[in-house]
Amino acid sequence: MNEKNVIGRELEGKLHQPTRQLAMVFDLNKCLGCHTCAISCKRQWTRDEGMEQQWWAVVNTQPGMGTPKNWEHLGGGWDAKGEPRASKIPTRDEFGDAWKFNKDEVFQGGKGTVTYLKPVTTKGEAPDWGPNWDEDEGGGEYPNSHFFYLPRICNHCTHPACLEACPRGAIYKRADDGIVLINDKQCKGFRFCMEACPYKRIYYNHVRDVGQKCIFCFPRVEKGVAPACARQCPGRLRFVGYLDDENGPIHKLVHKWKVALPLHQEYGTQPNVYYVPPLAPPSVDMHGRADPSRPRIPLEYLEGLFGPRVREVLALLEAEKTKKARGQPSELMDLLIVYKWPNDIFPDFVRDPAEL
């Protein structure tokens, strides 16, 4: 017990915080849903046996069920009184398994004319869900159908429910940068963290019998290289930096301009990934007439994800966008445009990984 990390824990009524906190801001107006973040993470970290079904970085279509399926309704995190909310372990099926295909049967087994190439799960069943099963379905009715993309990673929370749930003290939050890590030598695969995390971003490795999740690419970060998902993002929408760096884009977007909002802050874990909410075109009627007072993505829906400040943030984004279009200066638009990559988007982590 004495070895348990206290950072991120509430002891004697006080929440112990790291000296600095690394954070990310995702500008949802730029996400094109290409999944390059997910693939770059996969290539870097989750290629070993037992990690086939793990996607530490995912991109969900919203409105949608997400990854794992229906995760927003599984519980976890803290209630308004700071008490843990009961939850359940998300299943392999809910995450979406790594499918295998009957290639031998079709290509070698002489059954190419009587059967077809089809996926099976680890349990040998035909899948009825996958990590992006409902991709691009979205919500709304024609002509106001809508969707946007929501990239998700571990939120490296300030008050991590996973850390506090672990009976072994196997999860710790680093004092210098607030990255939350699972010590897999201490982990015994009990999976309480998977339940307690309200964002359901922890996977179970069945081969090694341990929990695993996004590590904020700490070995890269320690060498001044941005996390793989951020560095490889073609949309250049993933800002990385320290929350307290007043000259950096994270501080400016979160604290100065206040346009980057946490996802489901009511879960109480104080996530350190923030989102610039998506602007939407106006609703149209069956004759194609636009109603600028009603954005096509309902505000109530966005408020359900990013909280009550959504309206105010979208209005500010519109106002600054208009200013910029008129040729007037806008620090906020310049920040979001990212004129100089990589310096403007992760100024402390510009080193090219190829140079390592």
Binding site: A86, I89, R92, A165, F192
Partner: protein, 216 residues
């Protein structure tokens, strides 16, 4: 309980169905639910405080030795056999023995400076048990994943597991329990019902020592 010395080979000693075990006398060890208030984290306590767990009430314990080895035969009621670990919600059934490594070792997972040695068998690895050492709740460390040979069967709604090891460990180190003919020893026990998602401190355990004497 006297751990009798019998003249059988290791294979028979390790076989839960071997005739030698029917002659051995069983100790009926009572088990109770490990209290929710004793769970090491708020999450676990809150989640389980109103749920039934640790409902296995009794464990039948037999023990024998031969010239070089000691074996414990543990039998308990388990209506379902949970030995898979494929889904994230699969938790295999398990049983453990706890041996104190000092006079003062608390029977609940040991304490600071008063460690305990644990033999832990789990149904997804039915043929071996591992040896852990612990100095308090949440501190157990695996010392040797294959320290103890095991043989198990699930029949008529009951698990029977035999754990067997040489009296003097082949890999002696701190935290490994050693046995000498003629000595007194004691142990406590724990049972996990995997079908009820039981793991870690969510278990049934024996709240008092089973005192044993190892025949010389």
């Amino acid at each position: 309980m006297l751990i009798k010395r019998v003249d059988v080979d290791a294979a028979q000693l390790g076989d839960p169905d071997a005739a030698v075990w029917s002659a051995a006398k069983a100790a009926a060890v009572s088990l109770v639910q490990a209290p929710a208030a004793m769970q090491p984290t708020k999450y676990i306590a809150a989640k389980w405080q109103d749920k039934p767990y640790g409902q296995v009430k009794a464990l039948a314990v037999k023990a024998l030795r031969n010239a070089g080895q000691i074996a414990f035969r543990l039998e308990w009621q388990a209506k379902t056999k949970n030995d898979r670990r494929i889904e994230n919600t699969d938790f295999p059934d398990a049983v453990a023995m706890l041996f104190p490594l000092s006079e003062q070792s608390p029977l609940i997972m040991g304490g600071d400076g008063a460690p305990v040695s644990l033999w832990y068998w789990r149904a997804d690895h039915p043929n071996r048990a591992r040896n852990d050492v612990a100095s308090g709740i949440g501190t157990s460390q695996v010392l040797d994943a294959e320290a103890v040979a095991a043989q198990a069967k699930h029949e008529d709604g009951r698990w029977t597991v035999v754990m067997r090891r040489v009296l003097r460990s082949t890999k002696p180190m701190d935290g490994i329990v050693e046995f000498t003919g003629g000595q007194a020893l004691r142990a406590t026990f724990a049972v996990w019902d995997g079908g009820n998602l039981e793991r870690a401190g969510i278990k049934a355990f024996s709240p008092s020592w089973l005192e044993m004497n190892l025949e010389a």
